[in-house]
């Protein structure tokens, strides 16, 4: 029985918050997740936290990956997380990628970020992480 055809594919929003235009990583990840069978919505550049949360809601996403290489992660990530909480969203997996110093990672995780991927992280590790963590957070496969 082809269970796969009826199973909902994992829906991931790949987002670029803030003003930084470094989108090489975000685009590679978006494509790799798509090639791994997920539904990927890439927001494009220069998104406000409000726009990103709106996209997560509209797309009924299971996960959102925030890509930041501007150093503004300690301002932008907490706002996205707080806005998600304000909207009563507690089942969307939040991951962060980019130039994130290791000292900042514990605080991001304390805020609710599931994982932080720094430069050099293999795309397969990111795919595996999302595949493993999404069913746990949203009950979907």
């Amino acid at each position: 029985m082809p269970a796969v055809s009826t199973a909902r594919r994992i829906r991931v929003v790949v987002a670029k918050p803030g003003l930084d235009g470094h989108d090489r990583g975000a685009k590679i990840i978006a494509r790799a997740l798509r090639d791994a069978g997920m539904e990927v919505i890439y927001t494009g550049l220069h998104q406000t936290p409000e726009q990103i949360v709106e996209t997560v809601i509209q797309e009924d996403a299971d996960a959102v990956g925030l890509s930041i290489l501007s150093g503004a992660h300690m301002t932008l990530v907490p706002r996205v997380v707080a806005l998600l909480a304000e909207q009563g969203i507690d089942d969307v997996l939040v991951t962060v990628g980019g130039t994130i110093p290791s000292d900042d990672i514990p605080e991001l995780k304390r805020l609710g970020v599931a994982e932080v991927f720094t430069p050099g992280a293999p795309t397969q590790a990111i795919i595996d992480f999302i595949k493993t963590a999404v069913p746990r957070s949203s009950g979907r496969a």
Binding site: G18, L19, D20, G21, H22, D23, R24, A26, K27, I28, A30, R31, A32, Y42, G44, L45, H46, T48, S70, G71, A72, M74, T75, L76, R79, T99, P101, S102, D103, T118, P119, G120, P122, T123, Q124
Partner: protein
């Protein structure tokens, strides 16, 4: 007696064929196959003839360098790029650099300034003064250069979409020092096409952005004879994941597009082409990079002389700045980045660059610390003074492999030129996402090779060591954001509000008229202390803004 009839080359081929090769892809970083051996047969035709493709340094087609003496006459300029916090912090750094013998200043702007947002815009939250200096008004520009004689120093400003606005602030700041525009020396990047292709810091739609650039180039050609109004930049194209061939092709095509635009506006090519300059990446594939610089010089010289009919030999010269590849730096085992940067810097030098910025080893993680910046500068000094590579000009000229790579990159660039022309030229190609898609495909392919372990990155997918980060990181004081917001609000409160309003209305009216140069109303707006964000918004009311349809 077969061995007696065998040529030495056949002998080598036979011997080589008997040795099994390592099971790795023998390709350049750009994915191009590399043969086991290059010989005299790989040299281009016509060496020593009237159209010698290699030639001599300082002679057409400048493959071996733009100047006859190159580094025996003068070393490249070691120009490290700096900027952070408010104008005062960066001014202190600038004065320190000048006191220590640096003659040129290179300004990095923060993200809000690069995008035309004031520091107190909600869009600027968390980004003010973080990746460069925050400049909102004329007052900030004056503070940035306080105590520095602008008639006496060469200033580089790395800003693109709002370049005309920043240039207006700069010209008015100099005016206030009593230095007229025709004495100002320096460079503003202003390469807007590569923003849509790669760096993605834009304010307006493409056609309107091209108009603003054209206005600025034209104004500079009439008023600023010592100023370089555009620095055509492959650096960011490469950082976005392009191959060497793509960096070469898209950058030169951007440059040729700017030349065409200025010619179409009625300028004489020899009136502006000598002041166009370039900015290329120096990546880790050593020979491919060297070949890229050599091919770039040859193509630019030929196109300017033969296609645009430039008569002044200075119009033919592709003078370039180079920077080592930020994208090659790894967060893992960050000290390894010192080695990567040294090799890349050496490629830039052997490629014949006129100036060079070396990245700091901690930049995969944050803005660099002072210690890391010092090692980066020392790397250039070691290359210049210890290695002996500056003793002779273009030491790799005539290398079978380097000349073959140079020819191949040149042919690949012309192939891209043809494909771009078929799409209607570079502006059309960018609107159709052509270079963007080519770059995204190339970067995805390279990442696939790294992920699969076919391409080794030391410390990342081989020779790894668990928990890596040991660098002490530079931290930007979050209080600086508040300080800068207070500054721009204080300027708005104390300026002549009616004058600011009048300047903005005049600017907006000029923008709505075709064939009206926007530099004069921008200079008036700068004098009236109108902020960058206010200017950008006034122009956007006429021009609209830009939203990318991303391809991935």
């Amino acid at each position: 007696m077969a061995t007696q009839q065998q040529t030495p080359l056949e002998g080598w081929e036979r011997a080589y064929g008997q040795t099994p090769e390592r099971d790795v892809p023998f390709t350049t970083l750009g994915g191009e196959p590399v043969r086991p051996l290059y010989t005299a047969a790989d040299l281009p035709a016509g060496i020593g003839g009237p159209d010698d493709p290699i030639g001599l340094p300082g002679q057409f087609p400048f493959t071996r360098g733009v100047y006859p003496s190159m580094y025996r006459g003068r070393l490249w300029t070691m120009r490290q790029f700096a900027g952070f916090g408010t104008a005062e912090e960066t001014n202190e750094r600038f004065r320190y650099l000048l006191e220590h013998g640096q003659t040129g200043l290179s300004t990095a702007f923060d993200m809000p300034s690069l995008m035309g947002h004031d520091s107190d815009s909600p869009r600027s939250l968390g980004e003010v003064g973080r990746e460069g200096v925050a400049i909102d008004t004329l007052d900030d520009m004056q503070a940035l250069f306080a105590g520095i004689d602008l008639g006496d120093v060469s200033v580089s400003m790395t800003i693109n979409a709002p370049a005309a606005v920043m240039l207006a602030y700069y010209v008015v700041a100099a005016e206030a020092q009593g230095v007229p525009a025709d004495r100002l020396a320096g460079t503003i990047q202003a390469d807007i096409l590569k923003e849509y292709i790669a760096q993605k810091e834009w304010c307006f739609p493409i056609d309107e952005a091209m108009r603003l650039l054209g206005d600025m180039v034209q104004w500079c050609s009439e008023h600023m004879p010592r100023w370089h109004p555009v620095s055509i930049s492959g650096y960011h194209i490469r950082e976005a994941g392009a191959t060497a061939a793509q960096e070469l092709a898209f950058t030169l095509k951007d440059g040729l597009t700017y030349v065409q635009q200025a010619v179409d506006r009625g300028l004489d090519v020899d009136d502006f082409a000598p002041r166009m300059s370039f900015f290329f990446n120096a990546q880790i594939d050593f020979f491919e990079e060297i070949a890229k610089y050599r091919a770039a010089r040859r193509i630019w010289a030929r196109e300017l002389r033969d296609t645009f009919g430039a008569k002044d030999p200075r119009s033919w010269l592709m003078r370039t700045h180079a920077q080592t590849a930020g994208v090659s730096l790894t967060a893992q085992q960050p000290l390894n980045n010192i080695v990567r940067t040294a090799i890349e810097a050496l490629a830039g030098v052997l490629g014949g660059t006129q100036s060079l910025h070396t990245n700091s080893y901690d930049e995969a993680l944050a803005l660099p610390t002072e210690d890391a910046v010092r090692i980066a500068l020392r790397t250039q000094q070691i290359i210049a003074h210890e290695t002996g590579v500056t003793n002779t000009i273009d030491p790799l000229g005539g290398s079978y492999f380097v000349e073959a790579l140079t020819d191949r990159l040149e042919a690949q660039a012309y192939d891209y030129f043809r494909r771009i022309d078929e799409l209607g030229g570079m502006v059309q190609a960018v609107k159709q996402n052509f270079p963007q898609r080519e770059i995204a495909d190339a970067s995805y392919e390279l990442q696939g090779e790294i992920d699969a372990g076919r391409r080794i990155v030391v410390g990342v997918n081989a020779h790894t060591e668990g928990d890596d980060e040991t660098a002490v990181l530079h931290r930007v004081d979050p209080a600086l954001e508040r300080k800068q917001i207070d500054r721009v609000q204080a300027v708005r409160a104390r300026r002549d509000a009616a004058a600011a309003e009048r300047a903005l209305s005049a600017l907006q009216a000029a923008a709505a008229r075709e064939h009206t140069n926007l530099m004069p109303p921008l200079l008036d707006a700068a004098r009236a202390h109108v902020s960058e964000g206010e200017i950008t918004q006034a122009l956007q009311r006429v021009f609209g803004s830009y939203t990318e349809a991303p391809v991935f």
